[in-house]
């Protein structure tokens, strides 16, 4: 970032202030067209018939149940992702072993595979005609067209987020601080808690934010395994689609704006925690 600022400063000094202004204007224009305009359309469509209709669409039981299911999927997949991401990043960055590059490639698999295919894999594994289907039916366990399927699909598509953030970070930081902690008598847990975790905190938070956003917004994989049972297996994105297909545009955009609000909340949360933690650190330094 400092090189960018420096480059900007020297460009201005050389009298290229005009070029800089144009570039910044172009960036703002793109931002307005690609982000602010859709945001405005979503909100204006949602509020077309006034606040009353807007809120009715939100507190309707099906919408509430979709919200609940979305939050459940997030609440299960994000912690699992954190545990998996930490374990994978630790393995890859601290140890040398056979098949390491294969493991790194496999972590990326959910990024490269279409989410619809991921959903289909689960249907083929756990569906009524699937590989484990009869076994599951005998025990009266339903995964596909039920909540477990939705959670599984969400976990699958979000797997790479935390690991992808942490692997380069931990590789760059190396293991010397961990070694120093061990030499000073720290147990494995103490080392992780007092040395590793604070060092990777930012990468971890960022990974969690990305993972949460994706878990809330996932459509393809969840759509395949959900079965679209209203009030039972619909997440927010699926609910939006159903409403839209029923030409209930106001309700669709109302629920969409709820998703949007959740996304903005997550962004603000990230921003807030980041500034707060940096402030804590600089305060401690000044004392």
């Amino acid at each position: 970032m400092s090189t960018v600022t420096l480059a900007a400063i020297s460009a201005a000094r050389r009298g290229h202030a005009l070029g800089r202004t144009l570039l910044i204007a172009a960036a703002w224009l793109a931002f307005a067209l690609l982000l602010l305009l859709p945001l405005y359309i979503v909100l204006s469509e949602a509020l077309k018939q006034g606040l009353g209709t807007f809120f009715t669409a939100l507190i309707e039981p099906d919408a509430l149940s979709a919200l609940k299911l979305t939050l459940i999927a997030v609440a299960i997949s994000v912690p699992l992702n954190v545990v998996f991401g930490l374990a994978a990043a630790w393995c890859v960055s601290k140890y040398e072993f056979r098949g390491k590059s294969l493991l790194v490639t496999l972590i990326d698999l959910p990024f490269s595979v279409s989410p619809v295919i991921a959903g289909l894999i689960y249907v083929l594994l756990f569906g009524a005609q699937g590989f484990f289907g009869p076994w599951l039916q005998d025990r009266d366990i339903q995964i596909i067209f039920a909540v477990p399927g939705i959670v599984l699909a969400t976990v699958f598509v979000t797997v790479p987020f935390v690991a992808r953030e942490l692997i380069p970070l931990m590789q760059e930081q190396g293991s010397q601080e961990e070694e120093a902690a061990r030499l000073l008598g720290a147990s494995g847990w103490q080392m992780f808690w007092h040395v590793t975790l604070p060092n990777i905190k930012w990468g971890l938070i960022y990974g969690v934010v990305l993972c949460t956003a994706r878990a809330m917004g996932e459509f393809g994989a969840v759509s395949v395994v959900s079965g679209h049972i209203r009030g039972v297996t619909n997440t927010l994105p699926l609910h939006v689609e159903i409403l839209y297909n029923e030409y209930n545009h106001v309700a669709a955009f109302s629920v969409a704006s709820l998703l949007l609000a959740l996304a903005l909340c997550i962004l603000l949360l990230k921003q807030w925690s980041e500034s707060r933690l940096t402030r804590l650190k600089s305060n401690a330094a000044e004392e």
């Binding site: 601080e177 902690a181 147990s187």
Partner: protein, 330 residues
């Protein structure tokens, strides 16, 4: 506490890092492991600390075999080349870390910890930096904090990996004298790794010269310099000149092992002065001997008679005075 290293070997894939190393380090001694990069010196240090496991052989501290002991149970202080300070902790918290990690029963109270930390920070003369973060310190300051942190848990052995390697020349010189004095005060068995022979000569009680995974020679600084056990040790410990004597014979000698004269003398060979470099107390003269392309460097005191009014291109007469007759090689 003494360290006994027995038949230690270590291999990384196809690379033999250490080959059957045997070494005794006496209690209270300051020993330098000296050698070029890749000679295995850092691997040996990490094996002593328990950060690496040897493929064969054993490590004993004061007669007790610690080969099977985990890093945290060996009670060694270790200073990393790049310090490895905890970047998110203040200097105070860095130094306090080892004490705070002790099991509850042995852990001192926060007041005792604070007293100990301030005592250590005063010892390294950086008490005023207690609230800073590592990134706000200079290299020399970080190095001293790393040392204070290692000493906080009262280790029996202190290991330092290239402790001055990342510092600039002046700070390095100050810090190594300071370390030698500190070692005299606290008298802790210490081993440090270096590739700088001057550093090893200046600081260590004994030098272990290593090359390609084996020990070439062990001895006091004067001993390894004056009586090198191999050509490798001779070349590694100082500059050397080679003078051809004809018939494929040559003689090796150090730059200061030379007699210089402006007038032709018996046994002296004629040479052309290529360069004159005053280096403080001594002056280095680069000579081109008739009948040899390889240049000769001679170092004499700056007040030497042969230097008066000397200019490039003039003639000098020199005669090597090697102290080591066995270095005449065929």
């Amino acid at each position: 506490m003494s360290i006994e290293i027995r038949n230690v070997s270590k291999r990384f894939g196809a690379f033999q890092a250490l080959n059957d190393i045997n070494l005794d380090i006496h209690s209270g001694e300051l020993v330098a492991l000296l050698g070029p990069s890749g000679c295995g010196k850092t691997t040996l240090l990490r094996i002593i600390a328990g950060l690496e496991t040897p493929d064969a052989g054993s490590i004993a501290f004061h007669g007790e075999d610690v080969s099977g002991h985990d890093v945290r149970d060996r009670n060694v202080g270790f200073v990393f080349q790049h310090y490895a300070l905890f970047r998110h902790m203040t200097v105070f918290d860095n130094v306090a870390f080892g004490l705070r990690m002790k099991p509850k029963a042995e852990r001192p109270s926060e007041e005792q910890i604070a007293a100990k930390v301030h005592e250590l920070l005063s010892m390294v003369q950086l008490d005023w930096l207690a609230d800073r973060y590592p990134e706000q310190l200079s290299g020399g300051q970080r190095q001293r904090i790393a040392l204070a942190r290692a000493l906080a848990v009262e280790p029996k052995i202190l290991l330092l990996d290239e402790p001055f390697g990342a510092l600039d020349a002046k700070v390095r010189k100050e810090l190594r004298r300071w370390l030698a004095r500190l070692h005299e005060e606290i008298n802790l068995t210490s081993v440090f790794v270096t590739h700088d022979q001057e550093e090893a000569m200046e600081v260590a009680d004994r030098i272990v010269v290593m090359n390609r995974g084996v020990i070439e020679q062990i001895g006091a600084p004067g001993e390894v310099y004056e009586q090198p056990a191999s050509d490798f040790v001779y070349h590694f410990l100082g500059d050397s000149n080679r003078l051809h004597l004809g018939d494929e014979h040559h003689i090796l000698f150090r730059p200061h092992e030379v007699s210089l004269s402006r007038e032709p003398l018996a046994d002296h060979r004629s040479a052309e002065v290529r360069d004159i470099r005053p280096l403080g107390a001594i002056t280095r003269v680069t000579l081109r001997v008739d009948g040899q392309d390889e240049l000769i460097e001679a170092e004499v005191v700056k007040s030497h008679a042969s230097l008066v009014g000397l200019a490039r291109g003039e003639r000098l007469y020199f005669h090597p005075l090697p102290t080591l007759p066995q270095r005449v090689a065929g």
